[in-house]
Symmetry: C2
């Protein structure tokens, strides 16, 4: 490395440092000015100010994010469930008996109400039939292929184009200030890992989620990990702080969610010592996205909003706080391929 | 930040870069010259050489280390088991019935043979009586206090002074070359996390281990995580690749172990595509440490050594490969407080 190159690297490094410590207004350009944006900026400034009373060392700057409804959309139903239903259709030729067996019959007939009103056991049957019995590598390939081609039923977009631009900016802003950003999702860890690094900049080791069991075995002389039709862990509600502790071993200082399934994660985060930040994304924009909260079957936010008000957590009003919603708008991309 | 400070930071950054890419001989100063040291240096040089045929991007440079017998000693029995026996003695006044109940009676009478020859169920009883029923914070404090005072029965050293200096150098050398170093231990994840960052430079989120279940609950108005007397996961043998996949979501490119309990982890690592590195530490030094392998009850290395020979894995001969054994020697510290 020549002197010029070293100087150039230094300039870039210095820029990164200064950008990281600067107020985040420019980095949160899809956030409208208001109390939510202000609260985020104040929190980041406080924990990042060396020598300040609320300074937190970088190693302890852990931020955890729910995925469905917080980083990407979740209507009309969780995207992973849409994947499962699509997968049922793809596998149907190998299972002629599904035509006359519930819950597969309802899935094949696109009868979402029947699928969703079925028992938890019926939903699990759909998940296991589509998520187990293959290796972890095979599963990743199938999910990757689906994400590259499947389209959302009402927007016609790729599912990975239905991530929220303001949240992408928030993730980047936190990382620029030495935060380590994690996903803590009720969705499947192996499903989310397929796109989390490319779409969110979150590497696989920083994705925590629900899981089924896997088994180590030899196949054709090579070791493989086979996905078994058996639940391992449900990373939802009280499971979230449990999984965070198991996986990270530190209490986060910031937590971001959108539903009652995230409530315990926010409680656990904000009950810690020192400066903490808890934020709920509230779906209030029926025109640009969806509007739902206390009565919704998907992403219900009821008890959470009450505790947010009691405890002074930040509540994002999507309609007024977000200048743009989906990443595809924020990026100025217009290749919708509808 | 003034210009001088920026220049100073730059100099340090440049030094780190150059050190990181330099040949590792100086960084492995406790390793004698020989095939083991040479194999390590060649592997690191190959995967770190930009544009080289075996280059691996930093994000994929994952290295996993067993703990007991690989990073620190494990004789005359696993240190965590010694902790459990000490803890039984500390708790005995609250449990008068233990004087007449096995396996507690044997533990209180220091009858290690009886303890170790008991059933797996009996060992589990000892673990649960000493590791469960308290919060994760309370457990960390107890382990931390024990590590600060308890002494190894034959060396008189603190247990954290019985880590291997050559392995500390190896961890640092890998990290200087942009590896992410993980522990994957059959020992308890919450036990190892108490000292892993200070002693090994490995943060809690990079420690994978066995675990008991925990429960989220409220106590005196605050959320706590309570350790339950119920096994969650045994991170040993075929469990190691399963846990690595669950936690990291990438296959490591380097794995380090010392026993048959690490065999599947090494198989899984070295069966991946591209350049891989698998290493067994063989305990061959009865004078400076212990000598044991195929017949040992603790840290048995039998099938593993056969596969290492078949597959050409590196096998460290502690007696000839390591100039010093314990960190306390390598650091030149002489405050043994025997």
């Amino acid at each position: 490395m020549g002197v010029k190159q070293v100087r150039a690297s230094i300039t870039i490094a210095a820029l990164l440092v200064f950008t990281g410590n600067a107020a985040g207004d420019d980095q949160l350009s899809s956030w409208n000015d208001g109390p939510s944006k202000q609260a985020i900026n104040e929190f980041v400034a406080q924990v990042s100010a060396p020598g300040g009373p609320n300074y937190v060392p970088p190693a302890e700057r852990i931020a955890v994010f729910d995925n469905d409804g917080t980083l990407w959309a979740e209507q009309p139903l969780y995207f992973q469930l849409i994947f499962a239903l699509d997968r049922i259709k793809a596998l149907a030729p190998e299972h002629p008996e599904w035509k006359n067996t519930q819950p597969f019959k309802a899935a094949l007939e696109n009868d979402l109400n029947a699928v969703l009103s079925g028992s938890e056991h019926a939903l699990l049957e759909l998940i296991m039939a589509t998520h187990a019995g293959i290796t972890v590598n095979e599963f990743s390939t199938i999910v990757n292929d689906w994400l590259g081609t499947a389209r959302h039923p009402t927007t016609g977009r790729l599912y990975t184009d239905m991530v929220y631009q303001p949240m992408l900016e928030l993730l980047a802003y936190l990382r620029a200030n030495d935060f380590k950003t994690y996903i803590t999702s009720g969705g499947g860890v192996e499903f989310i890992r397929v796109f989390a690094e490319e779409v969110y900049g979150i590497p696989p080791e920083q994705v925590i989620g629900s899981s089924i069991k896997t088994q180590y075995a030899y196949r054709d002389g090579d070791p493989v990990l086979i996905r078994l039709p058996e639940l391992n862990f449900i990373d939802d509600k009280a499971g979230k702080p449990v999984a965070i502790n198991h996986h990270i071993g530190r209490r986060p200082i910031a937590a971001f969610g959108n539903s009652d399934g995230d409530l315990q994660m926010l409680q656990w985060t904000c009950a810690g010592d020192g400066t903490r930040f808890c934020l709920y994304v509230r779906h209030t924009d029926a025109e640009r996205e969806w509007a739902y909260d206390r009565e919704s079957h998907i992403g219900r936010l009821d008890k959470g909003i009450d505790q947010a008000q009691t405890d002074g957590w930040t509540v994002v009003d999507m309609k007024s706080d977000w200048a743009v919603i989906f990443s595809i708008e924020g990026n100025g991309r217009n290749d919708l391929k509808l």
